[in-house]
Symmetry: C2
Subunit: 344 residues, 2 copies
DNA sequence: AACCTCAAGTTAATCGATTAAACAACCGGG
DNA sequence: CCCGGTTGTTTAATCGATTAACTTGAGGTT
């Protein structure tokens, strides 16, 4: 691993390092004759020169590094798509991303911020791996971009999923299929999920739109995992026939998974007897259920892109209010018209 | 964002930058009097000094940056744990990780390698997001560490899961519960999964150990997803009673998910009528099935740690042969003794 | 011939920290 | 009073690329 310096290229090409720099970086290269340029390029190629970005960064005060602080890369499969979006934009722009996982520890966050600012990163993205409101660390620079979270105080650039619109899309799909008795399997309040009231609001809005009187008995809460979904669905299916829902909008795909189980235990089949819509479009789950689950996708990739675009100044963020990224409905096979009921 | 230089600290403390450097970096600090040290530290604190690692790196030829090249952060939920392991070690050692996702594109890989070597990273980890044999890029430095993949040619430090031992653990669990007719729901050969023959070997070895004659009819192959598992399981359950398996070892958790579905369709319950063991311990899936799935965990976190430890020189890698990381069995509720059969 | 312009480079300062080598001040011994 | 050895601190070179300012020589104008 011999290191080749610009001086080596210059020597071989018989010019000064200034000339090499101009040619290779393209700045002011009109001032160098085409012959010289060619000579420099050949020399660089011949010795296998790669520009040392540390030296360049010191001089230009630009590292082409973007810091990405995340609370938990580890424990969620969603992380990937968000990173991928950010990464793609960074690469398109010739930047690299430096990843730090702080595991929601305030001390680790301080350290990470110190380390990143020491590395002179050009921008910082502060990402949460699920949609929530965050208390932004004191020393997070003003121009940091928040990804999948909204700041508790102060207006900073931020992007979050449009949960209300997502909820509306889900419920509209069920209404369009002819359902009138649509349940919402919500997460319990103790989890303090920002998404929960928003998806609920979307649910209510579409019911109103369709002239359906919301039945409070159809809004049930449980732990937002498969087991919770199963119990909640069981309770709903225990309702007397005329009050029983024909469709369930679940807070997430795991609850939907539980709803499937509950339906099967009752001998009901999805979607013939019960339509189900989930939320998240969770990788390796939603599409693998039997039947594949119709669900609302969380736009992780797009949010990752957006955040990086703002961070690199490719796009302006409106101040004060987080940018809402649409959540597309993913149609699969868990929705059909309601079963025709006695006398209907 | 005023930048504070070491010179500012020096001025305030009334010493030279050399002294500040010695105190703050701890090198040769015995040569500075305690009073001066205190004065320097106070001054640094007062002006909010953070050392500029770009300048330091230029001088010391050490960036405390580790490059992590991965083929697909995006499309797998496994990535997270691997990154987390690598990240934790990096942080413990005062390093930062620079992540590049190449999406298995050779050109992107070249670029990434150029960029990383330009950034003068101290080490490089080349990670695959699922266990496979890789054609290592030409210009990957000799001392790069391979994570979750083995090099097609040439001996490099590498770490992969011990799939054979994992397969053995899974099948032993079933044998211990009393099963004799154990099926292996394997992935089809066209997917060229390195893990497939290894897990199969483990399966055969334990059968031999237990004195069970392997029945070729019980080794079936399908697409390694839920749908494939369902079909494979269905075929097995169609077998005449005396040849039908009482337990299934599935290539992965998704196939196990399909096996559950097939069992339910037959009116069989897991584990009373059919025991199932998966592989992967896939987040948000294995534990959420009903009943929760007994499975073999892929040691992503540990492999991530191992790779980073080797990369940073904290641990020696034996040359030539990839390090095998144990895959622990995760006991949940999908295994029980076989149903007592007619006359048994 | 004197003067100006332009093209094609080069020189040297600079970014901010590290560190080998030099230096100053003091002490004790002869 | 001079010398050698500590101890504590400073001086200055260095890492490698960038870039403002300068140089040189050719050609054009009047």
């Amino acid at each position: 691993m011999v290191r080749v310096r610009m001086a080596d290229v210059a020597a071989l090409a018989g010019v000064s390092t200034a000339t090499v720099s101009m040619v290779l970086s393209g700045v002011n290269s009109t001032r160098v004759s085409p012959q010289t340029q060619a000579r420099v390029r050949e020399a660089a190629e011949a010795v296998g020169y790669k520009t040392n970005s540390v030296a360049r960064s010191l001089r230009t005060q630009q590292t082409r590094l973007v810091g990405l602080i995340s609370d938990t890369i580890a424990s969620t499969p969603f992380a990937g798509r968000m990173l991928a979006g950010a990464n793609d934009v960074a690469r398109e722009q010739g930047h690299l991303v430096v990843l730090v996982d702080t595991e929601r520890d305030a001390e680790a966050e301080r350290q990470a911020l110190r380390a990143l600012s020491g590395q002179q990163v050009d921008a910082i993205i502060y990402a949460s791996m699920w949609h929530r409101v965050v208390e932004v660390p004191e020393d997070l620079p003003e121009d940091a971009v928040l990804l999948d979270c909204a700041p508790a105080t102060g207006g900073r650039a931020a992007v979050v999923p449009d949960e209300r619109a997502g909820g509306m899309a889900a419920v509209r799909e069920l209404v369009a299929a002819g359902h009138r008795r649509i349940a919402f399997l919500d997460a319990e309040e103790r989890f303090e999920l920002v998404a929960s009231p928003l998806r609920h609001a979307g649910y209510l809005e579409v019911l109103a739109e369709a002239g359906i009187e919301p039945d409070p008995a159809l809004h049930v809460r449980a732990e937002p995992v498969a087991g919770g979904g199963r119990e909640a669905a069981r309770r709903l299916l225990d309702l007397p026939a005329e009050r029983r829902p024909t469709a369930m909008f679940c807070f997430n795909d795991r609850m939907a998974m539980g709803a499937y189980t509950a339906a099967h235990h009752r001998g009901l089949s999805v979607p013939a007897d019960l339509s189900v819509v989930g939320y998240d479009d969770q990788q390796l789950v939603a599409a693998e259920l039997d039947p594949p689950l119709t669900t609302v996708a969380l736009p992780h990739y797009e949010m990752g892109r957006w955040a990086m675009e703002v961070a690199l100044g490719l796009r302006e963020a409106e101040p004060e209010v987080p940018h809402l990224m649409p959540c597309p409905l993913v149609r699969r096979d868990s929705v059909s018209p309601p079963p025709t009921q006695f006398g209907d």
